[in-house]
Symmetry: C2
Subunit: 183 residues, 2 copies
DNA sequence: ACGCTAACTGACCGATCGGTCAAATCCTGA
DNA sequence: TCAGGATTTGACCGATCGGTCAGTTAGCGT
């Protein structure tokens, strides 16, 4: 683990739990065991640190964007897309949590704006949506992210293990999106 | 409109769009057309202002808490509960948005802690839940709140009108929660 | 052993924020 | 008209934050 990657990881956790505005550079430095000045040596600014923490998740989200059409396909195609999507959410659950909870307050930050554009592109990838379709999709996306955020912030509370959560989430999102109007 | 209620309304909007930490007392004062000192005359602190802005929503949420058992009842009972719940979300959509997006970063604020306890009580009101049940409920709750938050932050974009959104949301949440295991 | 560069740090700066306070102004009832 | 409380305000304070900078330490090729 290089210092830079440790800082990126510490920032990701801190931003997710306390919020970007609620996180001081000093707090990130403390978590990583270095000085505040050292943080700003590796990253030119607090915003650059947010960018570094979120970019990996954004790139992978962008990579599966072309597959969104599978949602209007057969049951197998839809399930295939959902498996990739849920796995991606699980892998980058902290980044997803930051997106969902703070994208509104951080629209002026470039990396967040890019993520918002991506999410909107995913939502609008399928043509001639009914209101029901939009609601199904928004509930599925927001609900999944909220679930993972809550599961992550369960302190003592017993949270279901990831594999169980994954299976259940894939199944239920599948049901939720099964009745979208075909393209 | 008294000055106090105008300030409470301005604070609610500002907290929802920019976040509690991202909102300065000066910004609330500007929105309401008064001075910063005047804000602190009507409310003893920024935290008191948040409390005043969120309390009405919390009280109504607490009022429907006993009806949560209807989720395990007949289809009509469940629909009846969902109608009340969705209407409550629509009426207090800004407060709901603040809860969902910032409760994690604001757990040390008493009013937010109270809200979190309420939500947890609602989620745990039904006995012997399976993982699927938990997932369904979390997706429904978080998804609905996310949808309203997004619909509220649509600037130019055409957002579906409230009645259409209400009908669709009630129907789809009903489907989502229809297959929870009976008590 | 030397020199060079990357890594790191404490001290400091300007700006902003939440909150206080004394004074000014407004409003109302007698 | 006027006394007195309610309301409003500008000036100010201490604390915190993001960021800068000069200087120190650590590692490494020669």
């Amino acid at each position: 683990m290089t210092t830079a990657s440790e800082l990126r990881d510490a920032a990701l956790r801190e931003f997710a739990s306390a919020g970007y505005l609620g996180t001081s550079i000093q707090a990130i430095a403390d978590r990583a065991g270095v000085s505040k000045a050292s943080v700003l040596y590796h990253y030119t600014s607090k915003e650059a640190l947010l960018d570094a923490a979120l970019s990996p998740a954004i790139e992978q989200i962008g990579a599966i964007l072309p597959r969104t059409v599978q949602l209007s396909g057969t049951d197998e195609e839809r399930r295939d897309f959902l498996v990739r999507f849920v796995d991606l959410l699980l892998e980058h659950r902290l980044a997803a949590q930051i997106f969902i909870t703070q994208s509104g307050a951080l629209i002026d930050v470039p990396v967040v704006a890019r993520a918002q554009v991506l999410i909107r592109e995913i939502a609008e990838a399928r043509p001639q949506q009914t209101v029901d379709d939009q609601v199904r999709f928004a509930v599925a996306l927001g609900g999944a992210a909220y679930l993972l955020a809550q599961a992550g912030s369960y302190g003592v509370q017993a949270a279901p293990d990831d594999t169980q959560l994954r299976d259940s989430l894939i199944r239920i999102l599948g049901e939720l999106l099964a009745s979208v109007t075909p393209a």
